[in-house]
């Protein structure tokens, strides 16, 4: 990666000059970073702010549990174990059906905050 003198820490400049030079310097490092990203992920779309991206953001926290699927699977596999979650319990893929064991333990409300310090 070519390092030009212009890319040195702009924070060393005074407040007034910052706004001018950073606009000129801003183009080069940002575009270089974009090229790096495209090289790593060639299938990355052009618009990062598109609706897919925002939709993912809006759906944070979605966990899918279908009690019908769960009971059918339990009935089918009376002797066998249900396919359990891999190391990442939040990822639901393939035959994995979230089970009550997979849900994160509900934390005890009695745990006090450590900001209180040591109680005498």
């Amino acid at each position: 990666m070519s390092q030009k003198l212009e890319e040195e820490n702009p924070a060393e400049e005074t407040g007034e000059e910052k706004q001018d030079t950073q606009e000129k310097e801003g183009i080069l490092p940002e575009r270089a970073e974009e090229a790096k990203l495209k090289a790593k992920y060639p299938s990355l779309g052009q618009k990062p702010g598109g609706s897919d991206f925002l939709m993912k953001r809006l759906q944070k926290g979605q966990k899918y549990f279908d009690s019908g699927d769960y009971n059918m699977a339990k009935a089918k596999m009376k002797n066998k174990q249900l396919p359990s979650a891999g190391p990442d319990k939040n990822l639901v893929t393939g035959d994995h059906i979230p089970t009550p064991q997979d849900l994160p333990q509900r934390k005890s409300s009695l745990v006090t905050s450590k900001l209180l310090g040591k109680v005498d």
Partner: protein, 452 residues
């Protein structure tokens, strides 16, 4: 507040910040629940509230300075703590609702009790914090230990007397404002009328009356008819500090809309639109992401507002929509690291910003437990660090410097050595004095100006 002369600590502005206190555990292993998610002083600055990912609220109170402990210099000690929100599961939507406290906002004090609003992703609660320092003794129908007395043995009546007791601070939920948000609440803001407040999620803003929990009015709705056309979301919203009809909300596209509730019931059409024109030749894949505004705050005067995007803090004059009047670079050296910051998701970190009491300075956080302060009048800025190493009582904070280029001077830290897991997202400035609270993951630091 004259700056210190020699001593080798050239403060970036006229402040000389010193360590005052640090709260929280020292161990390296940070429990998720202990991560502080919001910090807020009340209107007088005597109370400081924190919320964490575990749904707990801790309130600290400033000690009155007294002759017995002259060095306590207004220290903050625990006043009250309570579990504000619990984790929930919405079975209808298969949605896990975190108990993390997203925001706390205090109500102006109207009587002996203190009131605050705390919110998680879905539910806002009004909490009353009151003191009890007297208790009644000499009841007629029950004993001192509470057991009911045998009515046949009561032969005389007496008037219970009030006796002093050890101070007890009680917190009780007075109102629960639920089921009004489909998306995740990011902001709450109390109106200057002290009767209403707003809550904002990704696509909508609702107006509530503090007394009424079963009804709220929708005042902004940016949800498109077809979700495929979704291009931006609401990131923050706030009421004007003096004009009860004015509110602003920021977006993920770097714009701020000012709405006037007098113009119509639904404020989808803004009264003012603040956006800095972008140079089309400098546009990149990252442009929109780093322009997303993570926080918007009115100045105390109500004349200006400040926005925080990924790399800078901008101050806007409400009378000028075309561009900000000031732009302060927080960590411009990160512009050449955007690729890795996108890969590790740090580019989506939401930093907050705050004004000092006189609106002469602004502050915001950065990485490596650094935070930045900008003096608007002298145009000077300083980078300080919240760390246990510089936490001796009343020790001055040494300004930090990050080196982006090749040659690193002594005492400078290179961009590649920055710890991106140590982020300061939440900071607060006392409304009157030069006292600041800085949340560094699970620790709360309090710094004071030497002149205090």
């Amino acid at each position: 507040m004259a700056g210190a002369g020699g001593g080798g600590c050239p403060a970036g502005n006229d402040f000389q910040w010193c360590f005052s206190q640090v709260k929280g555990a020292v161990d390296e292993d940070v429990a998720e629940a202990d991560i502080i998610s919001t910090v807020e002083f009340n209107y007088s600055g005597d109370l400081l509230a924190t919320g964490d990912k575990g749904g707990r609220v801790v309130i600290f109170q400033r000690e009155q300075e007294n002759k017995i402990r002259p060095h306590s210099r207004g220290e903050y000690n625990v006043y009250s703590t309570f579990q504000s929100h619990e984790p929930e599961f919405d079975y209808l939507k298969s949605l896990e609702i975190e108990e993390k406290i997203n925001k706390i906002r205090w109500l102006p004090q109207q009587n002996a009790a203190h009131f605050l609003l705390s919110t998680n992703d879905k539910t806002i609660k009004l909490w009353k914090i009151s003191e009890r320092d007297k208790r009644a003794e000499g009841y007629n129908l029950k004993d001192e230990d509470g057991r009911l007395r045998d009515p046949f043995r009561i032969t005389a009546l007496r008037v219970p007397i009030l006796k002093p007791m050890d101070l007890m601070v009680e917190a009780s939920p007075r109102r629960i404002f639920a089921n009004a948000h489909t998306y995740h609440i990011n902001s709450i803001s109390v109106n200057s009328d002290h009767e209403t407040y707003l809550s904002a999620d990704d696509l909508r803003i609702n107006l509530w009356h503090l007394e009424i929990t079963d009804r709220s009015f929708n005042i902004v709705d940016i949800k498109p008819a077809n979700m495929e056309e979704l291009t931006e979301v609401i990131t923050a919203a706030e009421f004007h500090p003096h004009q009860c009809n004015v509110l602003v909300y920021s977006s993920s596209k770097g714009t701020v809309r000012l709405c006037d509730m007098r113009s119509s019931a639904l404020c989808d059409r803004h009264s003012k639109f603040f956006e800095e024109p972008e140079d089309p030749s400098s546009r990149s894949f990252f442009s929109e992401i780093i322009s997303s505004i993570s926080d918007v705050k009115f100045s105390h005067s109500g004349r200006y507002m400040m926005t925080r995007d990924y790399l800078s803090v901008k101050v806007w004059d409400l009378n000028m929509e075309s561009r900000p009047v000031e732009t302060h670079q927080v960590h411009e050296y990160l512009r050449s690291k955007l690729c890795s910051l996108y890969e590790n998701d740090c580019i989506f970190d939401k930093f907050e910003c705050c004004w000092n009491g006189s609106d002469s300075a602004v502050m915001t956080g950065s990485y490596n437990n650094f935070f930045r302060m900008f003096d608007r009048s002298t145009r000077r800025d300083v980078t300080l660090e919240a760390s246990r190493e510089s936490s001796k009582p009343r020790a001055s904070l040494k300004p930090r410097k990050v080196c982006a280029g090749g040659k690193r001077k002594k005492d400078e830290i290179s961009v590649d050595s920055l710890d991106f897991n140590k982020k300061i997202l939440h900071t607060a400035w006392h409304p009157v004095d030069n006292v600041i609270a800085v949340a560094a993951t699970n620790n709360l630091y309090i710094f004071q100006d030497k002149a205090n």
